[in-house]
């Protein structure tokens, strides 16, 4: 029982980070209807930025978010402005391939700059944990979950209460109608992609004390992000939040009961089942 509770808790904690990744992807999909295959690579860039700041300037990974986030927002905005915007009306497969191509460029440029060696960012708290009623919880995971919660709440506030946030949601609901209402749709797209990439990079920064850092780390997170967004219903921010936590828990518990090698299969089978029986996602937003 304690093993179950233990894996449930660590699943929820890592799920918080997954939620950030998923929310980023779902915002991009919602506003642009583009599936961003470079999402994991944006996360990878966040990891390397954190690693670079830590080794060169000794900035704590959790603190460095304040630098990484705005930088990656600008980078995402740049990608949207100069690449993605040009294919918004193109065939979906061309959009997908463009983001795949951008992802390949990112991961291979990083490989040229940092080589493909695995890097480890070890802080003094990397392997420390807190114990609670016989259940031990990894400290970096706990801290990252707290930060994710704060960021997610801030994001909800931004999307629900501010004018820009509402304009983004309006664009996601109906691009044409939003344009007719006088919303600058292009600008919203740029902000959305910037937000998405900032969130992915933040997730990367948060997991960098506990994960191996290498140029190809992105693709597995891209896949996870897809699973999370489909699970929650593409374009739904609340869905992505819940989907992230669900996937974290499924992975963690699947890893305990099927062996860690099979935990990804558990996730993908779950994914296919949802695609087949509830293609609109667990929360059932509209499919189009």
């Amino acid at each position: 029982m304690s093993i179950f509770v233990q894996s449930l808790i660590s699943g929820i904690l890592i799920g918080g980070v997954y939620a950030l990744i998923g929310i980023g992807l779902t915002i991009i999909f919602g506003v642009m209807r583009v599936i961003n295959f470079a999402h994991g690579d944006l996360l990878m860039l966040g990891m390397y930025a954190t690693y670079f700041l830590f080794t060169q300037f000794h900035i704590d990974p959790f603190v460095s978010i304040v630098i990484t986030m705005p930088l990656m927002f600008l980078y995402g905005a740049f990608l949207q402005r100069f690449f993605i915007n040009r294919v918004l009306d193109a065939l979906p497969q061309n959009q997908i391939l463009l983001t795949i191509g951008l992802g390949l460029i990112m991961s291979n440029t990083v490989m040229l700059a940092f080589t493909s060696d695995y890097k480890i960012l070890s802080t003094r708290y990397s392997s420390s944990s807190v114990s609670l009623h016989g259940i031990s919880i990894s400290l970096p995971l706990l801290v990252s979950f707290a930060i994710t919660t704060v960021i997610t709440i801030a994001l909800y506030w931004f999307l629900l209460k501010t004018d820009t946030g509402q304009a983004i949601r309006a664009t996601a609901q109906d691009r044409e109608a939003a344009r007719l209402m006088g919303i600058n749709v292009k600008r919203m797209s740029i902000i959305a992609f910037g937000l998405g990439s900032a969130l992915a990079a933040t997730a990367g920064a948060l997991i960098s004390p506990t994960y191996y850092i290498f140029p190809q780390v992105g693709s597995s997170f891209t896949l996870k992000a897809f699973v999370i967004t489909v699970l929650g219903g593409m374009g739904s921010v609340i869905g992505a939040t819940l989907g992230g936590i669900l996937i974290g828990v499924a992975e963690s518990i699947g890893g305990v009961y099927f062996g860690s090698g099979w935990k990804e299969v558990v996730v993908f089978v779950l994914f296919l089942l949802v695609l087949l029986f509830r293609p609109s996602g667990l929360l059932g937003k509209s499919r189009t």
Binding site: N94, I96, I100, G101, L112, V265
Partner: protein, 362 residues
């Protein structure tokens, strides 16, 4: 499959009319290719050509499903890997020669394709793409974990191939690259021929109708599920053959080299860069991609830059390029994909055609 009567008619008109010239050109081109191993001594040149043939098979196979039927599978690594693994497992653990094992691979792939098809073809657009990726990933992780069958992450290494015999005469013992060259050439020509058949046959028109508008095609009496599955099986069979050929030629496979998302992306890239839904698109894509990535891998590009006097070999830049550029041959895939999508969405072939027609008009 292409309807035979249609092909016959085509060949007859070819013999009588102005189609003779392209046909002759084609025949002499093929003859020239077939003579290459006799005159070219460089094993490296043969190696690149074999890789190109495998890429042509992969790209053309994807093209039948993705280009003609409009189902953008980004999970073709599943079929590539099933072919490669079946052949290699039979060869290594059961000592069954690859030219028989390959057919077992094809059989396994057909079963796999029908199962995957029955799941994924219920979905459309981005959902289909995501499902196809998920299925291929399930295969990768399974191959990684079924250690008794697949050797897991260690992969399967085959160093010796049994000689191919006809009666008592040894046809080849596979010590050179030449038999692989001919196998690749013949299979590549065959898949191009099949693509041609698909493009001009009733079956191909059904495929293209589904690509253009699935619902309209359905309302005209075309069964989308049936024809999508037919396209998938044709496509998967050739992908599987490419996988077997690659595995036996290289002599080593592991889940990362045959089942990974990179393989699926590479397959799609070949077709898209050349131009999807065309016969020659994947051929051009394969030639361009293999040549460019090999040029990077072998440091030919760096050497050329140094020779041209653009980069000093001893300077920091020169040393850096020499040491690192060969590892980043995938980078060229990325850059090419981005350029092609942004500036030539119809692929290299479509781009060339547009330039030609523009010149004719002007």
């Amino acid at each position: 499959m292409p309807s035979p009567s249609f092909i016959r008619r085509k060949w007859i008109t070819s013999a009588g009319g102005k189609r003779v010239i392209p046909l002759l050109l084609l025949a002499s081109g093929v003859a020239l290719l077939a003579l290459i191993p006799l005159s070219v001594q460089s094993t490296y040149a043969l190696h690149i050509m074999i890789l190109t043939f495998v890429s042509i098979i992969m790209g053309s196979a994807w093209n039948i499903l993705g280009g003609y039927t409009g189902q953008y599978s980004v999970g073709h690594a599943a079929y590539f890997g099933v072919g490669a693994y079946t052949t290699m497992i039979l060869l290594q653990f059961r000592h069954i020669a690859p030219w028989y094992g390959m057919w077992a691979g094809v059989g396994a792939t057909i079963v796999t394709a029908l199962i995957i098809g029955s799941i994924c073809f219920r979905l459309r657009g981005p959902y289909f793409v995501l499902a196809s990726i998920a299925v291929a990933e399930i295969f990768r992780v399974t191959a990684l974990n079924l250690k008794d069958l697949t050797n897991g992450a260690e992969g399967i290494l085959v160093t010796e191939l049994p000689p191919l015999k006809f009666g008592d005469t040894v046809i080849t013992d596979f010590t050179t690259k030449v038999p692989f060259f001919y196998t690749g050439l013949i299979t590549a020509l065959f898949v191009i021929f099949v693509t041609r058949g698909v493009q001009h046959s009733k079956l191909g028109y059904y495929f293209q109708a589904i690509r253009e508008d699935q619902d309209a095609a359905h309302s005209l009496g075309i069964n989308p599920a049936l024809y999508k599955n037919i396209a998938l099986v044709i496509s998967a069979v050739f992908t599987s053959v490419a996988g077997s050929l690659y595995a036996v030629y290289v002599g080593f496979i592991d889940p990362g080299t045959v089942f990974s998302l990179d393989v699926s992306v590479q397959i799609v890239t070949i077709a898209i860069i050349g131009g999807i839904g065309t016969i020659l698109g994947p051929v051009i894509g394969a030639i361009v991609l293999v040549t460019l990535s090999e040029a990077l891998r072998s440091n030919a590009l760096t050497n050329a830059l140094i020779h041209a006097g653009l980069v000093n070999a001893d300077s920091r830049v020169g040393v850096f390029l020499k040491e690192n550029l060969s590892h980043a041959h995938i980078l060229i895939y990325g850059i090419l994909v981005v350029i092609v999508i942004l500036f030539m969405p119809q692929g290299l072939l479509g781009f060339a055609r547009r330039i030609v027609t523009r010149k004719r008009k002007g």
